[in-house]
Structures are given as structure tokens and as C-alpha cells.
């Protein structure tokens, strides 16, 4: 919210149950929540497991950071003026090795080279002092 930041795109407002994710991201670690009772990963983070167990016993597991592009959309216009100069950029849904999907940007590649099934790995974009957005780039 502070005025002096040059980054003026939307930033996540942390909830208590999502804070561990963003704190890990700030330390350049990708973590995914998992139900302690069923061992099932889920994403996005919730206070209670969205499974039948409804447990609030959640553990955060360090992810491998490897994923595959499940689908993508090359954006030629952004949602607001803050994105001026960015398009074309890629918004994608990737499926991580742990089996959850995450929305992200695919970076370090010509948008038209992105394909469904492409192997990608996490990179960390420190967009502000407080917020790091996990993004993905092609492997290798």
C-alpha cells in the first residue's frame, strides 16, 4: 500500500493461514500445505484441510520447485494501467511435482515458445521488500 514503491501492481494481502507461504517465498522457498491426517497436498492454502478430514493440522512441505505447464494464456492486455509495457506476458496454470496446480507467470522465454506440458522450475521475483512472487521458467 505504501506510496514510495515503484511496484504498483496488485499485491497479495496475507491472511493468517497463508502467511507461511509468503514468508517462505520471501526466503526463496516454495512450500505447499499438506493435511497431517491424510498426507494430501492442497493448494491454495486454507486454515482447514479442504478434504473430508477438515483438519486444522496443516504442515508446510518444501516443494521440489519442478512443474509442468498445464495451460497458459498469452496476455496482450493487462488488467490495469500498471501493466503498461508488460504485454505480451504469459499467465499459466502449472502442475507441480507434488500434484497441485498453481497460477503463475512463465518468465525467461518468448511467450510463443511456451507449450502445454513444458517442464518448468520455480524462480523467485522479489517484487517488493515484503513480497516475493514465485514464478516459473523453462528447465535448463
Amino acid at each position: 500500500m505504501s506510496e514510495e514503491k515503484t511496484y504498483n501492481k496488485p499485491l497479495p494481502e496475507f491472511r493468517p493461514e497463508t502467511k507461511p507461504y509468503w514468508e517462505a517465498a520471501k526466503n526463496h522457498e516454495l512450500v505447499i500445505p499438506r493435511s497431517k491426517t491424510t498426507g494430501e497436498y492442497f493448494f491454495y492454502p486454507r486454515a482447514l484441510s479442504p478434504g473430508e478430514d477438515m483438519t486444522d493440522e496443516i504442515e508446510w512441505v518444501k516443494a521440489s520447485g519442478k512443474a509442468k505447464v498445464w495451460t497458459y494464456a498469452i496476455h496482450h492486455m493487462g488488467p490495469s494501467k500498471a501493466y503498461k509495457g508488460d504485454p505480451p506476458y504469459v499467465v499459466a496454470l502449472v502442475e507441480t511435482e507434488e500434484g497441485v496446480k498453481m497460477m503463475t507467470n512463465i518468465v525467461d522465454i518468448d511467450p510463443h515458445e511456451v507449450t502445454v506440458g513444458m517442464e518448468v522450475e520455480v524462480v523467485f521475483d522479489d517484487v517488493t521488500d515484503e513480497v516475493t512472487l514465485p514464478k516459473f521458467k523453462p528447465v535448463g
Partner: protein, 403 residues
């Protein structure tokens, strides 16, 4: 074949007993109409529908509204009741995105069947184009996507549908032409709809070569934004007779909902979407005791071209992945296999959720669709989807009472 859904036999008995009908419809002008407020359009559409039914405002004892994208109110239905000057016995605001209009009809039916009201006005209106503009609509994604885990990545509303479209193209080897064909058919139909915004003919090439918004979608894959209002009046056959309503009646034969996801992040695969559409449709089909082959006309939510293909397939009119070929062969046109959105839909007529889809379905069954009239139209399906193909609702309407 789908397995038997519990409750549909009971639902059929309820609908047979009450003979719930759409007895009046109304549409205002649609387009860029900068001098009218959201509540002005709601009022005007209500007045037209009441006059179409030939009843008095005081005959209306129930009200179902939705929401406004421009004029945010905490209690939309009662805010409008106050503005319009009515004291409904039953009131409700439905807010399930593009599934809203279809479910407004269902909500009115449930209210009537449970004795809450006898004559329910269902109305939407908004000055979306003048009030929030196209860029505002592009940014509307903020209301639908995850604020923390999706929105910071620059997703737009068309971008959300482009994600679904890209996966669809991948899974079925479908092409840009398949998507574009939907827009071409909608435009063809809009030519004969008096208040349609876009009537000039459109070709496949026009669609593909129009401005790229979010690949694989271009400008003409995206619905238009408009100002306007629409309304319909739900009552029973008996009450319609008592009130002396002269219109032919469109009878409610079945209804259903289906839920897939809210956030694309939690979507497993396209089957999850198909299953939600199918669940919604099957509930309606089984309640009516009919199947796809009995349907003469379809009104499918077309906020983007991709939703029509997913819906055609999910409802079981064509196998998965074959909606594109069906569209490309012109089989959704009036006079062909299954006329879809004979009024031009959200892609060419105007955008007010599925309100115009419901209105046009009733007009077709009444035989009042003028130059767009489909011969022997006896059964119509209307399907809405809210979110990014996430929340679904279906109604089936018949020209005759459910038997």
C-alpha cells in the same frame, strides 16, 4: 447414460402440479446508453415485462433481482423494491455470475411452489458500458479470481477463459476456427434481433484477425459490454388465467445446478467442468423426463466462444471435443440441427448475463420471435455459467405443460 439423480421425480411432480410459467418478458434498448442509471434500466425493463403480461404492478408479489456491477448495494432486491415502488412478499438477490439469470427463474419457481409468492418479477439491468467501461470489465476478474494466489500474476477476465480455451485446443486438437465459428453464428443471429448491438456480418477470418486479447482469444471471441435491462415474470398457469394474461406461456419443465470450482487453481482437468455442466443439465433433463434429442433450441452462455463449446459438449448435445466442428458446419444456426442463441447472445446482441437468453427462449416458445422464429420450437434449454466456467445452472422450458 447418466445415472438417476435423486429428487428429480419429486421435482417433476411439483412442476406438474404448479404449472410454473414465464408469462411476460421485457427488454429495453441495449447498447451505449449513457443517460440512464442502473436502477433506471431495472425499472424500465420491469415496466415492459409487466405491460407485456398485461397485468398491474400491484399484481406482482415477488421480486428476484441480482446485482449491479456499477451501483453496489448490500441488499440489491430490496433496494430496487424501494426504488420501483413495490412491497413484495418474497424477495431475493441471486448472485452466481453468469448462472444468475437462469437461477432467478428457478428461485422464482421455488418461491411459488412453496407458497411465498404467486407472481414473481425477475429483473436485471445495468449501465455496465457507460458505468464501468470495457477496461473495467477486463479488471472484473478481481471479483472472480483468487486475490492472493491468482490476481497478482496479471490475470484478466478474457485471460481466464483463454486458459480454459488453450487447454481445450490442446486436449482435442481443436483449432482457432472452431472457436471463431461460434462468434460467426452469434453475429448471424443478431442481424435479426432489433436491439442487438452488433449486426454487421462477421467471417471466421474477421474473428481470427481481430485484435488479440489473450491468446488464443481475440476481440470477437469476447462478449460485448452494454447498457440495458431485461425482465421476465414467473407465475403459474392458473394465476396467469386468473389475471387474464393473453400471452402464450412458456412452462418450466426442469432445473438444475452444477458446481466445478471457483478458482482455476483448484481445477483438476476439463472433465471437472464437463461434469458440472452435465450434472446441471441432467438434473433438468431428468426432472422433465426428456433427453437432448427432445430439445429444439438452446440458449448457452456465450461470454466467450469457448463456453459455448464446453456447454454444448457438457450438456451432451455433441461428444467432447466435437463442439467446434458442429459450430463450424453451421449446425447452431436457425434452421439447422440445434439453433443456439437465436438472439445473437452475449457475443453480438448485448451482455446482461443470461437474461436475454431466458427472454428469447420464452419468445421462441410463444412464437413471438419474429424474423428469428424457429419453426416448431417446443422445447428450449437455457444454460448459464458463472465464474470461469465454474458455476452452472440449467432450465428447460416447454411450449406445453409438462406431462
Amino acid at each position: 447414460m447418466a445415472s438417476k439423480i435423486p429428487g428429480t421425480d419429486e421435482a417433476r411432480e411439483v412442476l406438474k402440479k404448479h404449472k410454473i410459467v414465464i408469462a411476460g418478458v421485457g427488454e429495453t434498448d441495449q447498447g451505449k446508453i449513457p443517460n440512464k442509471s442502473s436502477f433506471h434500466f431495472l425499472s424500465e425493463a420491469s415496466k415492459i415485462a409487466i405491460q407485456d403480461a398485461g397485468i398491474q404492478k400491484s399484481d406482482v408479489d415477488g421480486l428476484v433481482t441480482a446485482f449491479s456491477l456499477v451501483e453496489h448495494t448490500f441488499m440489491h432486491c430490496t433496494t430496487f423494491a424501494d426504488y420501483f415502488g413495490m412491497k413484495p412478499k418474497f424477495f431475493s438477490s441471486v448472485a452466481v455470475g453468469g448462472a444468475t439469470a437462469v437461477w432467478m427463474a428457478a428461485e422464482a419457481a421455488m418461491a411459488i411452489a412453496s407458497g411465498q409468492a404467486e407472481v414473481v418479477l425477475c429483473v436485471r439491468g445495468d449501465n455496465t458500458l457507460s458505468g464501468i467501461s470495457s477496461s473495467g470489465m477486463v479488471a472484473l476478474i478481481r471479483e472472480m479470481c483468487h486475490a492472493e494466489f491468482e490476481f497478482p500474476y496479471g490475470l484478466t477476465t478474457p485471460g481466464g477463459y483463454a486458459l480454459a480455451a488453450q487447454r481445450y485446443l490442446h486436449d482435442f486438437g481443436a483449432t482457432r476456427e472452431h472457436l471463431a465459428a461460434v462468434a460467426v453464428t452469434m453475429r448471424k443471429h443478431a442481424a435479426n434481433k432489433e436491439n442487438a448491438m452488433n449486426k454487421e456480418p462477421l467471417t471466421i477470418e474477421d474473428v481470427i484477425n481481430s485484435r488479440i486479447i489473450a491468446e488464443p482469444l481475440t476481440k470477437y471471441d469476447c462478449s460485448i459490454i452494454s447498457d440495458g435491462g431485461a425482465a421476465f415474470i414467473v407465475t403459474t398457469e392458473a394465476k396467469a388465467k386468473e389475471l387474464g394474461i393473453q400471452n402464450k406461456l412458456a412452462y418450466l419443465w426442469g432445473m438444475g445446478q452444477g458446481y466445478s470450482h471457483q478458482y482455476l487453481t483448484t481445477l483438476q482437468d476439463l472433465d471437472q467442468i464437463y461434469n458440472a455442466i452435465n450434472t446441471s443439465g441432467q438434473k433438468a433433463f431428468q426432472t422433465a423426463g426428456i433427453s437432448q434429442k427432445d430439445v429444439d433450441i438452446a440458449f448457452l452462455y456465450d461470454c466467450f466462444t469457448i463456453t459455448v463449446l464446453l456447454t454444448l459438449e457438457g450438456l451432451g448435445f455433441v461428444p467432447k471435443g466435437e463442439g467446434g466442428a458442429f459450430a463450424l458446419e453451421g449446425r447452431m444456426e436457425i434452421g439447422k440441427d440445434l439453433p443456439v442463441n437465436t438472439h445473437g447472445g452475449l457475443l453480438s446482441q448485448a451482455h446482461l448475463g443470461a437474461m436475454h437468453h431466458v427472454v428469447e427462449a420464452a419468445l421462441q416458445l410463444r412464437g413471438d420471435a419474429g424474423p428469428r422464429q424457429v419453426d416448431d420450437a417446443e422445447v428450449a434449454i437455457v444454460h448459464g455459467n458463472g465464474g470461469i466456467v465454474s458455476a452452472h445452472s440449467t432450465i428447460l422450458l416447454g411450449k406445453e405443460p409438462l406431462s
